[in-house]
């Protein structure tokens, strides 16, 4: 796995945070540097993911679909089968172990669509920690189902109503909480971004994905795959899938970003692949950001809430600059098509985020030979996001169901005498 030089990967990375947060980051870094070369710690982590989250996740051959597309053999790394339904839980469980070692009793996290918040709430419940999850008021409004679960899990979900009231503001607000509580609280960052050591630390825990892909490929294909493809939001599932192959130049590593509606400002979330992202320093680190000439971070759009992020892992920014990672993107339309194709042909419901990896991977596989192998990292399942997916596939029956259900729910509340 790649290692930073002093928190930097080439020109990207670093640690640009208010002074108050520095001690917590260095404490975390010290602990991480001490543990990451300790095989016993890695074993402890792997055992936790096994006993709680069902690892290893399988590598599923898509026989029918590969045949139908007529190119390479396509395999899915099934992170959707993780507890909580996405790869996010790997990182969160790993950080949970660090929290226990630091003796902290409280965790905080920011969340956009709710996936990382949910994973954090799950980890906190499992380990007996208090959790506060910051979420933009606008996101709460749209993703209430995840809020519902986080609250049922005992987490405190705090709505953030500054600014545009979405992920960015939630992240800023979580940092503000951390500035006040840093001595007793760990900030569980959800992707391979942010100030050092987070990009490295999150990639380290997620590398369990690529380690498994490597073993499974040798067992199931008899060789390494020709390509490994992953969607790129912050970059954690991609770094997880790619990590084990960085030193195998014969394995192409392909990251698929959210092409959204078009490459117009605010209509996509492409930072690596189309010259849309520019080097900047914000949210604690240096990377390619979508931003304007004044250095203000830009608006983003993706059909997948989890890819709708303005920055990107500094490690991926570096690897893509070096040419080791190939960056591409998939539009919303390509994504819904790949989504339907996988469901109808293989019976697997992908997350819309992961469907970006599918769209990109299918396209590449088509132009390859049948004896070649492409692994696509299926970072999450879609059934956790029925509201989002129903928005992507508008249907009258769904609307009517929601209306009836709202009426039913009102009635139930009235029966119970309100809340």
């Amino acid at each position: 796995m790649i290692r930073s030089e002093n928190g930097y990967f080439g020109e990207f990375g670093g640690r640009f945070v208010p002074e108050i947060l520095l001690p917590a980051l260095t404490e975390l870094e010290d602990l991480f540097f001490e543990l990451r070369d300790d095989p016993a710690f890695w074993q402890e982590y792997v055992t936790l993911t096994q006993e709680f989250s069902g690892r290893p996740t399988p590598l599923t051959p898509l026989r029918r679909l590969s045949k139908q597309l007529g190119g390479a053999q396509i395999w899915l790394k099934r992170e959707d089968l993780n507890h909580s339904g996405a790869h996010k839980v790997n990182n969160v469980l790993g950080q949970g172990l660090l929290v226990q070692r630091m003796g902290k009793q409280r965790v905080i996290a920011e969340t956009g669509a709710g996936q990382h918040g949910l994973a954090t709430a799950i980890m906190a419940a499992r380990l007996g920690l208090n959790a506060t999850i910051y979420m933009g008021a606008e996101d709460i409004e749209r993703q209430y189902s995840n809020v519902f679960w986080m609250r049922q899990l005992g987490s405190d979900v705090v709505g953030v109503s500054t600014g545009a009231q979405t992920l960015k503001e939630a992240l800023d607000e979580a940092l503000r909480d951390w500035a006040a509580s840093v001595e007793t609280t760990h900030y569980v960052l959800g992707t391979a971004c942010g100030p050092a050591p987070f990009p490295e630390l999150v990639s380290y825990f997620q590398s369990v994905i690529g380690d498994e892909i490597k073993d499974q490929s040798i067992r199931q294909m008899g060789c390494l795959p020709d390509e490994v493809v992953a969607c790129v939001g912050g970059g954690s599932n991609a770094m997880g899938a790619f990590g084990a192959f960085l030193e195998n130049p014969e394995v192409a590593l392909v990251g698929i970003e959210a092409g959204g509606i078009s490459l117009e400002d605010g209509k996509h979330s492409v930072r690596l692949s189309q010259g849309t992202g520019e080097t900047g320093i914000a949210q604690g680190y240096k990377t390619l950001f979508l931003q304007n000439d004044d250095g203000q971070l830009g608006d983003t759009h993706s059909i997948a809430a989890g890819l709708d992020y303005v920055g990107v892992s500094p490690i991926l920014a570096y690897l893509s600059q070096q040419g080791r990672v190939i960056a591409d993107s998939a539009t919303d339309d390509e994504v819904t098509e790949a989504f339907s194709l996988l469901m109808k042909t293989e019976g697997i419901i992908p997350a819309l985020e992961s469907a970006h990896g599918l769209a990109g991977g299918f396209k590449r596989a088509k132009s390859m030979r049948p004896e070649q192998n492409v692994v696509i990292n299926l970072s999450g399942r879609g059934d956790k996001d029925i509201f989002n997916i129903a928005r992507a596939f508008p249907q009258r029956e769904w609307t009517e169901f929601l209306q009836r259900e709202a009426a039913r729910s009102t009635e139930l509340l009235a029966q119970k005498g309100g809340h």
């Binding site: 002074e19 503001e169 909480d177 006040a180 914000a282 949210q283 604690g284 931003q291 004044d294």
Partner: protein
Amino acid sequence: MFPAQYETLQIMSHAVIGFPSLEENEKAIAGLAVAGVKLIELQVPFSDPVADGHTLVNACYEALKQGGSVKATLDLAEKVCARHPEVTFVLMSYLNPLYRYGLQALFEKAAAVGIQGMIVPDWPVEEIEPWLPKLDELGLAPILMVTPNTAAERVERITRASRGMIYVVSRMGVTGHETQWGEKFQNYIAEIRKHTDLPLAVGFGVRTSNDLNALSGKAEVAAFCSQYIEWQRDDGSEIAANKMQTIVKAIDPVGV
């Protein structure tokens, strides 16, 4: 000019460029100058102001809609520095807008328009150090922050890289409201003074005359920012300036 060590308490106040509008900024700054404020931070609004509390966060959000930017800030600075020579203007910004502008060009331009200092909360000392020769050459003072949890060796390094003043973060956190100015705080201040002869500007949680009087005789500067911006937001710049005047007059003139 920054105050000298042990001078009596001065107030540093604030403008978010573009909030409530670019024209209003000029009037507000004039009002502060009349009120007797000797130090004013000119904050470049930013989309992700992580070290600010809600008041300033929302002000940034509004300011951006009103055309606040690095360029707007420099343009305004040019006017107000010339207009209010008795006031020391400090550029306050997050790093990215400056970085995008080009750091060297920005420093040169800022110095040229008359800005004397610079507060950049997400710019760590390690990254500032290489720029010190240039900044010293330009006479642009990097004002670095020390926080209650900064380790002693790091306080040493930060104070060594600072110029003009040290920004003393009064307490943990940014969004809370009450700050204690008791013994613990005084020990904290005393600890910092062991490392530096620069005057101390205390920020975060300075919201009342009581706070100012508590600081009087302990620090050279009190950053009176969020509360002022709230007055400006709720009552307009004129009334805010009047309130500021009352506050400034009420300070006990005790030397440190």
